[in-house]
Amino acid sequence: MGKALWRDGDVISGAVLSALGLYIFLQAQQWNYTGPDGPGPGFFPTWYGLGIVALSLVMVGHKIRKGALAQEGAIDWRAAGRGLGTWAAFTVSVALYKPLGFTVSFALLTCFIVAVIFRRPLLTALLTAVGIAAAFHLTFAVALDVALPTGVLGF
């Protein structure tokens, strides 16, 4: 039961949020709570920081009290793999903007999504990636003159 509880989404998010609330509260203590003209920059964060700590602890406490029922809130992380994989690929493509530029990175991302996430043939993935990336480059960079991240290749 204890192990299941620590895999529970509410318990994990509650713990993360209470840590965030504590951080906000402690940071706010370094700024003036009140000044000569009224409340200072620490006033508002102090209260919502405390609010986050209190509410997240209540949520975690409620979940622990429910105990055996905790698995209701458990997340099937295996099923979430497609979403998480897409996000990871998106993040890697963002990291590649500096060396490769938007157009090439975006083509690689599209190729990954089509071939790996949607399991389409590699040729379909390549054609889709080249087509979409070219359409974006022509529409935004060429036709609309919108600035896009450029890499060492100059586009």
Binding site: Y48, G51, T128, A129
Partner: protein
């Protein structure tokens, strides 16, 4: 008389060729977005907002608002033909709309949805035209304490109706307040929560939060769900889309019910089009002579919710334009758009920016006509959009999100933040934290802190100021009552039922 003169001025603005064009673009995009499951108006408005920075404010808001209400027209198409709502506000349309389509009445079902949307949408705009001026006049008496209390009331309503867990909705809202605090404090120039990053001194751009939490997160959720459905045959030809006289007669009360229920619930922050559509469906069933037939494909079951989700738009714009208080995610993004263009939504907006205010209101009359014309004869064409493979659509949305976010600042740091907010939005969805309170907390956070600090400066730190002023005391008392109301079992059961249906 004054309203009529102002509205005429609005029509002069809205009928300018450029503004008619933007109205058409917004309605067209809205219909497309409404048809596509997984892409909502909030995400689309957020994605396109950066591209409207250089537009005339009247043209910009006319287009973005067109997306907002156009999506509600388009949402019914997927509900009826796929049994998969294009928009959350069209969930209830699936019940009878899909059954009508299965019985070979897809055309009339689409026709009834378009006619109900037109009637109720126009009713909502008329009500907005008549109600907005007195509400704005009343709000002129508001000072900092009343504004703070009003924002508390608005946020508490949103929190109450945002998700089945009140605690998660509150946490989401507080997270929004924190994100709004990041940057330089405007009163004292103190840097707050910047983690030593100079890029954060100016704060987190609203666009990054909105695009990340809505557009990126929606793409991730849709990819994860991987749903594919079978499209029913799409009727072609206007004649096949028109309902029979008997069907129209059966929908008489549903048109009225949807219009009134949708508008009234639209005015309430947090209630939104989805709850309005469920309540109007419930009313329709309750007063029907044949409630047992609901769910088998009755036209009233399509007309009432489709009317309600369109009348909601007019209602939602009342607090946004007259008080500067958005009631949901899309209106929160519209509020930011107005602020970016230098327009201040609130009681003085009608005087300070009459072109924008009345131009927008007048454009909505025109937009409803455009949408009726688009949605009746062109439905077969729009339905073809559903044949675009998702593996082309989703990378496209990711690409537009990046282009939109990068075009604001030209900083790669912002794109990294965008990816972070995308993950946050996706995780929130998985862990059942509602996104609307976060976005409203973020939008209202700065103004709320300012109003609170101004109020306490006025009273030299005395909190009793909020209770000594009748209006602020009433609003704060109401906000507390709302937040405590789930403690009453029956109220909480109703609330959970409403928000569960919402989700």
């Amino acid at each position: 008389m004054e309203i009529a003169t102002s509205l005429l001025h609005g029509f002069a603005v809205a009928l300018a060729p450029a503004n008619i064009f933007w109205c058409f673009v917004g309605c067209f995009l809205g219909t497309v977005v409404g048809i596509l499951p997984g892409l909502g108006p909030a995400a689309t408005i957020a994605m396109l907002l950066p591209l409207t920075y250089n537009m005339n404010p009247a043209g910009g808001i006319i287009m973005l608002c067109g997306i907002y209400y156009g999506a509600k027209y388009g949402g019914s198409t997927t509900s009826i033909l796929l049994n998969m709502p294009g928009e959350s506000s069209s969930v209830v349309t699936c019940i009878d709309g899909y059954q009508m389509a299965r019985r070979g009445r897809a055309g009339p079902a689409l026709g009834i949805a378009a006619i109900a949307s037109f009637i109720a949408g126009t009713f909502g705009v008329i009500a907005l035209t008549l109600i907005a001026p007195p509400v704005a006049a009343f709000a002129l008496s508001f000072s900092a304490p009343e504004y703070f209390a009003l924002m508390c009331l608005g946020l508490s309503l949103v929190v109450l109706l945002a998700g089945s867990s009140l605690i998660k909705a509150l946490l989401s809202m507080l997270l929004g307040l924190w994100l709004a605090s990041i940057g330089t404090d405007l009163f004292t120039a103190q840097a707050r929560f910047t983690f030593g990053q100079a890029s954060l001194l100016g704060g987190v751009d609203f666009m990054l939060v909105a695009i990340g939490v809505f557009a990126i997160a929606e793409v991730l959720s849709s990819i994860e769900a991987g749903e594919e459905a079978q499209l029913l045959p799409v009727p072609s030809g206007l004649r096949n889309l028109l309902p029979s006289l008997e069907e129209l007669k059966a929908c008489r009360f549903a048109f009225l019910n949807g219009s009134v229920t949708g508008f009234l619930l639209g005015v309430l922050p947090g209630a939104g089009a989805t709850i309005a559509s469920f309540i109007s469906y419930g009313i329709e069933k309750a007063v029907s002579r044949h409630p047992e037939k609901f769910g088998t494909g009755v036209p009233e079951g399509v007309a009432a919710p489709e009317g309600a989700n369109n009348a909601d738009t007019g209602g939602a714009l009342v607090p946004l334009l007259t008080l500067g208080i958005p009631g949901g995610s899309s209106t929160a993004i519209l509020l930011s758009a107005l602020i970016i263009w230098g327009v201040r939504p609130g009681p003085l907006m009608m005087q300070e920016s009459p072109d924008v205010f009345w131009g927008l209101v007048a454009s909505m009359y025109i937009g409803n006509v455009i949408l009726l014309l688009l949605n009746l004869p062109l439905v077969p064409l729009f339905a073809q959009i559903l044949r675009v493979p998702v593996y082309i659509l989703y990378p496209g949305i990711l690409g537009i999100s990046v282009v939109g976010a990068y075009s604001v600042s030209g900083r790669l740091f912002d794109i990294a933040l965008l990816a972070g907010f995308g993950l946050l939005g996706w995780l929130m969805g998985k862990l059942k934290y509602p996104a609307a309170p976060l976005i409203l907390g973020f939008v209202l956070g700065g103004a709320m802190e300012r109003a609170l600090r101004q109020s306490l400066t006025m009273s030299q730190g005395d909190m009793s100021l909020f209770l000594s002023r009748p209006l602020s005391a009433c609003m704060l008392a109401l906000a507390v009552l709302l937040l405590l109301s789930p403690l009453a079992g029956r109220v909480n059961r109703w609330r959970v039922r409403a928000v569960t249906e919402n989700g």
